[in-house]
Structure formats: C-alpha cells, structure tokens
C-alpha cells in the first residue's frame, strides 16, 4: 500500500469542468494537510476536444508534476486511450458507464477498470449531468480513503454564489461518488490520508502569486487585452479592482494597453500590463517610448509557444532574447523571470520598485506552466511584511514647493536617475518627449546633448546591476554536472537533481536564473567557475539562456536539453536525457 504519494488525473472535454473541479479537489487535499501540484492541460477551444487536470499529492512540498498516473477519472471515451499507458501497476481507470469505450481499450495488465454510472448519479443527485465531475472526484476520495468533509467544505465555498440548490446537489453528488468509490477501495492500493493538525496552506498558481505580489507592491493601474496565458492576471486584478482601489482597463488592443499604462505611470500611478508574447509584440514601439521618456511601467509576459499564434494554450520559453532586445535604439530595462510561485510573489512587488527607482521599464517574464500550475504553499511564504514601496527619487509636493530655480526633468546626474516630478504641480511644468531632448525635455538634435542623454540613461545600468540577484544555487557544491535553467523549468529540474543525487551522491546541482537583465555577470562568472560540466535545460529550440550566458561570460554550455513540443519538462523527461547529454 502507498500512502499520500500519487497522481490523480481527471479527463474530459472542454466545458466538462475538469479544471475547476480539479482545482477544487486540490484545495480539499490541502485542507486535509497534504501538498499538491495541480496542472491543467487544455486545448484552444471552448467546447469539446480533450482537457485534463492532474493532481499530484504528497506529504512533502512539490515543485513539479510527473508523468505517472495512479488514478484516471474518465468523463469521455477519448480520455481512456490517451492516458492508459501512463497508469502505474495497481492503478485504476474509473470511467462513466454511459461511455462507449471500445472493449479492447478496457484491458491492460495490472490496471483495474471501474465502470461507474457517473452521469446517472449526477443527474439523480444534482439534477444535472455536468455534476459528474463532482461524482468522479467523490469516487476518487472513496477509493483512496480521503475524507469527504474536506471535499465538501470546498464545494460549499466554491458553489456558494450559485445558490443553495446547487451547493446541496453537488454535496450529494460528491457523497454518492464517495460511497460508490468505497466499494472498490479494498483492491486499490493508493491511499490518501488526512494529516491531522497540519497548518493551513495556500493553494495558488503563479498567476495568483504574481498578482498578489503586484497588488501588495502598490499596483493601482492595470491595462490589458485578453491573451492566454497572460489574461488570468487581468481577470484577477479585475476581480479585486473595486475593493482595492485599482483602475482596470480592458483596452481595444495591446498597443492601447501599454500606452495607457505609460500615460498612467507618467502621472504617478504604479501601472502594470499583463500579456503574452503576441501582445508584447504589439507593445514593442511603446516600450521604447517608456525608455526614452524614462517612464516606470511593468510589463508581464506569460509566454506561450510562437511564432505568431503558435500553440495558444501550451508552454514555451521562447521570448527571452526578444524581450531583452525589443524596440529600436538602446535604453536600460529590467528583465526578471520568476521560476517559482515564491519568486512570482516577490517579483510582483519588486518590479514596481525597480521600475520607479530607475525610471525605466521592468519586464517580467513568466510562462504558461508557471501561470497555471497550482501548488500548496505555507502562509508565510508570501511575506507581506517585507514588502516595500520604494518610489525612488520622486519629489514630494513639499520638495517641489521648496525647489529653487527651474525644475529639470531630465537633469544629467551621476546615477543617471533624474529626480522625478509628477504633472500637476506649478513647478512641474515640463515636456516629456519621445524625441531626444535636453534636460528640460525640449527637443534637441545637438550631438553633445544627445551624447549626454544617452550616457545618462545608460549610467542607470550601474545601479540597476547592483539590484540584480545572483542565480540561485540548488544542490550540493561538488558535483559532476551543473544544470542552468530559468523560469518554471526550475521545478521539474529541481526534482531531477534530487533524484540524480539520491541515486548517487554528488551527481548534479543547478543554477537557477531569475534576474536576467542587467545580467549579473560577475556573480555568474564566479558561480560557473567551479562547474565541471555545464548543461542548459530550456523549453525552446535555441538555448536562449545559454546564449545569454556565453555573450556575457564567455562560458559555453557543454550540452543542451531542449524541448519545444509545447509541453513543460517533467523530471522523468530530463532524467531520460541525462545519460546521453551528461
């Protein structure tokens, strides 16, 4: 018997509610004191197709999903053949007995096939066939011996706004499934046991982690245009806007979104633009406007596979070098790529401080896997106490009142940062211009002033570089191979490193990059000195992190593990690449 170490997968069509019910079940497991890693997988369509949600459960914190499945809940015929090969020995496939699954698909060595009238029970208990997802998860609870109370507490919360009848129907559906599952529990060896007295934990995805951080960091203006997987930040902010004093604008396009954010930031609001790569492509010209007018704006790009429409609901890390060089001309920018939910929260508030302190755009690079994957986190992981709101050299009204002489918005300074005054004050009557300008903001084409302004802006990079964190090391110091990664690849790679070292001590460690630009050259050079064999692991075809490392340190990687099939890495996939690449 295996206790508290398994993956449950529920599969159906778009519109069957596999994602919402799967996320709800994650919360129930967390309330039962267990750690989860939940991952939705869905196609770019509203109805039909094949969607599934995987819930990995453990007593230890989880950083990744894995490939093997212990219990499959099939709401559609297609679910069975698609995932049958992933089921471990002793595992089970629960399927709706209404489904017409071809008999030859209902046989596999060591797997139980359990036809259960999910739809009939849903209709009987909840009056609607859609509730079969609830029945199926009730069956999962019954089979694994997990407690029904945790599940029902989430149902009460999640369905509350749909009214009493819907709540009661789903509670009854869950219970009916639970009782049905219990009938087969004796022959099912994977069990989930409530951990008594576990502390309450958060169940969040990277979208929520980043949004919480941004709100805590004083984000008060959000403009965006829907694009998967960036729009969930827009939705989160919209849901919280009225209550937390945020102005949220769903704009006519991404060009309007970024330009509105620049306008709001110019006036003094902390402004955010959530998007994905296609939307960011439209924002490129305005990025340069923020650069030359020294306007602090935060742009969040949750990457998906390109080029162009690419794979809208899939995963890739293909936009790093594009974001680093986007827009004509040269100007400083921050490029930050959180790789974990913890880093999403910190990046969420820190990006606004960096943008305002250096009066330049801060670009945040997330990705699909990070944006949608759900993890359990201890409450203190999101440390609201340490959140700071640092507006940098922003002149207060009193300072402006006391200012003698003329205010110079683009004063040449040693740090490159010119004290900033917000429009609205009699001393703050100045022009900001996309043209090259002098210290007052007046257009100039004089070579001396042009040179002085370029150098002023570039000088900010000195201070900016000091703000950048060194790549975070993970694993033992003396190892055969050092992996480098960025973004959400951290999770699966971290687990792969753990497994390698568990097999044989001292095999691998990893260096995880969050601060990508300004590139922490000295810290990286030092960190890489002791690396014997360097292997990059990235979800793209051209090894963009390896390119960045080589360009800045001269160090080439010895091998690359790359993937560009639209799916995130798993620890198993990385381990399978290791014998040939390492």
């Amino acid at each position: 018997m295996t206790i508290n170490n398994m993956t449950i997968r529920i599969g159906g069509a778009a519109g069957d509610g596999v994602e919402s019910s799967g996320a709800g079940f994650c919360k129930a497991l967390a309330r039962g004191g267990l750690h989860v890693f939940g991952l939705p997988d869905y196609y770019s369509r509203i109805r039909g197709g094949h969607n599934f949600f995987s819930i990995r459960v453990s007593e230890q914190p989880l950083y990744s999903h894995t490939e093997r499945v212990h219990l499959l809940l099939a709401l559609t015929e297609e679910t069975v053949p698609r995932h049958r090969d992933k089921i471990v020995e002793g595992g089970a496939i629960v399927y709706d007995s209404r489904l017409k699954v071809p008999p030859e698909q209902l046989a596999a060595k060591g797997i139980q096939f359990l036809p259960i009238p999910l739809s009939d029970m849903a209709e009987e208990k909840a009056g609607i066939v859609l509730a079969r997802n609830t029945v199926a998860l009730g069956v999962a609870a019954g089979l694994t011996g997990f407690d029904l109370d945790s599940m029902q507490s989430v149902i009460r919360q999640n369905f509350a706004r749909k009214g009493r009848a819907v709540v009661d129907g789903n509670l009854a559906a869950a219970e009916a499934g639970y009782l049905e599952g219990q009938k087969y529990a004796a022959d099912f060896p994977f069990k989930l046991k409530r951990i008594p007295d576990a502390p309450p934990r958060m169940v969040v995805n990277g979208t929520e982690a980043f949004s919480l951080g941004a709100l805590a960091g004083g984000c008060r203006f959000v403009a965006g245009y829907p694009m998967t997987p960036g729009s969930p930040v827009l939705h989160w902010m919209a849901a919280h806007a009225a209550h937390y004093g945020v102005v949220l604008k769903h704009t006519e396009d991404e060009i309007a979104a970024v330009n509105m954010a620049i306008g709001a930031a110019h006036m003094g609001a902390r402004a955010l633009v959530p998007t994905s790569g296609g939307g960011f492509s439209l924002m490129v010209e305005a990025l340069g406007l923020a650069g030359i007018t020294e306007t602090p704006v935060v742009i969040y790009n949750a990457q998906r596979p390109g080029p162009s429409t690419g794979l809208p609901t899939r995963h890739e890390q293909g936009d790093m070098l594009f974001m680093l060089y986007a827009s004509q001309g040269e100007f400083p920018r921050f490029l930050l790529a959180p790789g974990s939910h913890e880093e999403c929260f910190v990046t969420g508030w820190r990006a606004f401080n960096l943008a305002e302190k250096y009066q330049t755009p801060a670009l945040v690079l997330s990705d699909h896997y990070l944006a949608v994957a759900i993890r359990t986190l201890e409450l203190e992981v999101f440390d609201f106490e340490v959140v700071e709101i640092d507006r940098g050299e922003l002149l207060s009204e009193a300072e402006l009142d006391a200012l003698e002489g003329e205010y110079l918005r683009y004063r040449i300074t040693e740090s490159g940062v010119s004290p900033r005054a917000l429009p609205g004050h009699p001393k703050a009557v100045y022009m900001a211009a996309s043209n090259e300008h002098d210290e007052r903001g007046a257009i100039t084409e004089e070579p001396e002033m042009r040179t002085a302004q370029v150098e002023k802006r570039q000088r900010k990079l000195v201070g900016m570089a000091r703000e950048m964190s060194s790549p975070s090391p993970y694993g033992p110091l003396e190892v055969e191979v050092t992996f480098v990664s960025w973004g959400s690849t951290y999770g699966p790679l971290r687990e792969a490193v753990d497994r390698l070292n568990a097999e044989q001590a001292g095999r691998a460690n990893l260096l995880h990059f969050v601060g990508l630009w300004p590139f922490p050259t000295e810290a990286v050079t030092a960190a890489l000195e002791s690396a014997r064999r360097l292997v990059t692991v990235e979800v793209n075809a051209t090894a963009q992190l390896a390119t960045l490392i080589r360009a800045n340190t001269g160090r080439s990687v010895d091998a690359k593990i790359l993937k560009y099939d639209g799916r995130p890495f798993t620890p198993e996939y990385i381990l399978a690449c290791v014998p040939e690449e390492v």
């Binding site: 203006f221 009699p426 703050a428």
Partner: protein, 289 residues
C-alpha cells in the same frame, strides 16, 4: 487672471511661415487663459508630426508621445489623474490614420479628453504624402497617379460612434477657434475639435485661399446642436460652403472616469499609496486557503 503671455514658450516653432499651426497654438493659449486653466493644470498629449511639436512652443505640461497613440496615453493619464485637464493634439495622419481606432474607442468611453486634430489633409513632416483626409486624385509622392482612397469622414464617424461633443474650427477664424476649444474644455466627456489647418508647403490647394471664401459658422444658420441627424448631414457639406462651429453637443452622458469604482475616492494618484492593511492581507489569504 491668466493671459496668453502666461503660456509663452521658450522654443521658436520650427513650422513653415504661414503654417496653420501658429493660429492653433494661439487659439489654445487664448482658450486656456480664458478658462483660467494654468499651465500646470493641464497636460497636453501629442503624437508625431509637425503639429505634435506644439506643446514645446508654449508653457504647458506635456507628453510628446509616438505616432497615433496620443489618445491611448492620454486615456491612461486621465484615469490616473482626472483632476487635471487632458488635451490631445495631433494631426490627421496621427489621429485619423494610425490613431483612428483609438479615437472611436475614446468616443465610446466618453473619456474626458479634448481631442484637437490639426487636419491639414496631408502629411507634412514626412514630406507631402497623401493623408486619410486628402482629396481623391491628389498627386503626392505615394500617389503619383492620384490618390485612390476616398477620404475618411472624421466628424460623421465621431457622431456615429456616439461622441458627445463634435466641432470643427479654422485658424483663419482665430477667435472662433479659441471659443470652440474653450467650449470643448468645459465639456465633461470626450470632445473632438477638428481644425482645418492650412499647410502652405504641401497642400496649397487646401490652404487659406481655399478655405477663406468657403467657411461659414454654424451659429449663423441657427443649427440645433442637439439634432444628431442634422449634425451628421452637415458634416458632409464640403464644397462651395464648408461649415465650422459646434456640430453636435449632448449633455448628461456619464464620463468613463466617473463610473470607475476605484475613482469614486478621487483622482487615483491622489489616493494614498501604502502597504496592504492586515485585514486586507487576511482577506486575500482566505481566498486561497
């Protein structure tokens, strides 16, 4: 009491002698002075083009943005601080070409922006190409056989899209133009002031000699500015007689900014910016447990 001198700038305009922009610049200064709006109480957003350099030539708070996007930047600014007057100034290439989409959406929102379009019906700064409002057949570097595109009808589009203030002025009628801009500044929502701007270098056929004998004031014919159909029809009068004045004006339509929940407490940038309070953190945590 403000006067035009309070808005005097330090830079010399780079415009050609006789450019219609001189009149527009004067009219804006006159309107601001008459409305008692000081240089720091207004922010002027411009695009790219000869006319978009306008705020550099006066004393005013301004943001010279990129081509076609000034209304988007201005919208963000208005939402961040609706305590200030927001004016957009840009040409017809900027406003009716690249920025036409933003104009229709600004109209839909009835956001409090005075939108002044210097409509010289040609591209000046890029040297004489035809614009979205050029006459068909106009021969220019990008239309050597004559322009094929039919001109955009900006005023009709604005009325159709739901604009609450639609006017047209002419710098040859300076006092009248200043009055129009003043009326637009008093209007709570989006206000379009299309200006027939002579370009004496690249569009001589549509300069003073063309407009002077043709323009007439809508006030003189007793046009009812609340009559949408009549206003719409008048926007198409173009030939021997060309109307200027207020075509359409409707009161009582709520502005966008007055409907945003977060702005009920006053301009966004005037609201305190602090860390989340303990009870807010509790609520946010409770959502994810």
């Amino acid at each position: 009491m403000l006067t035009r001198e309070d808005f005097a700038g330090r830079e010399r305009p780079t415009w050609c002698r006789g450019c219609g922009n001189f009149g527009i610049l004067n009219a804006i200064k006159m309107a601001l002075a008459e409305q008692e709006i000081a240089p720091h109480q207004v922010v002027m957003f411009t695009g790219i083009g000869c006319g978009s350099k306008l705020p550099h030539y006066m004393k005013v708070t301004g943001f010279h943005t990129i081509h076609g996007r000034s209304l988007a930047v201005a919208t963000g600014a208005r939402l961040a601080n609706h305590g200030l007057k927001i004016i957009a100034v840009h040409g017809d290439g900027d406003g009716y070409g690249m920025g036409l989409g933003h104009m229709l959406h600004a109209i839909r929102r009835n956001i409090g922006i005075v939108d002044i379009v210097q409509n010289n019906r040609v591209y000046g700064l890029t040297r004489g190409q035809y614009s979205p409002t050029s006459d068909p057949g106009m021969i220019t570097p990008t239309s050597p056989e004559g322009a094929i595109d039919r001109p955009a009808p900006p005023l009709a589009l604005a009325i159709t899209a739901g604009a609450t203030f639609v006017a047209r002025g002419y710098p040859g009628e300076l006092r009248h133009l200043a009055w129009l801009i003043g009326e637009a500044l008093q209007h709570p929502g989006y206000a379009l002031v299309d200006v027939l701007q002579p370009c004496v270098t690249y569009n001589r056929a549509s300069a003073y000699d063309f407009y002077n004998p043709r323009v007439y004031k809508l006030e003189e014919i007793g046009h009812d500015v609340t009559d949408k159909t009549a206003a719409w029809e008048l926007t198409y009068e173009w030939g021997e007689r060309i109307p200027i004045g207020i075509f359409y004006r409707v009161e009582g339509v709520p502005t966008y900014e007055e409907q945003v929940p977060a702005l009920k407490a006053g301009p966004l940038v005037k609201q305190p910016l602090g860390k989340l309070r303990p009870e807010q953190i509790e609520t946010l945590r409770a959502e994810v447990i």
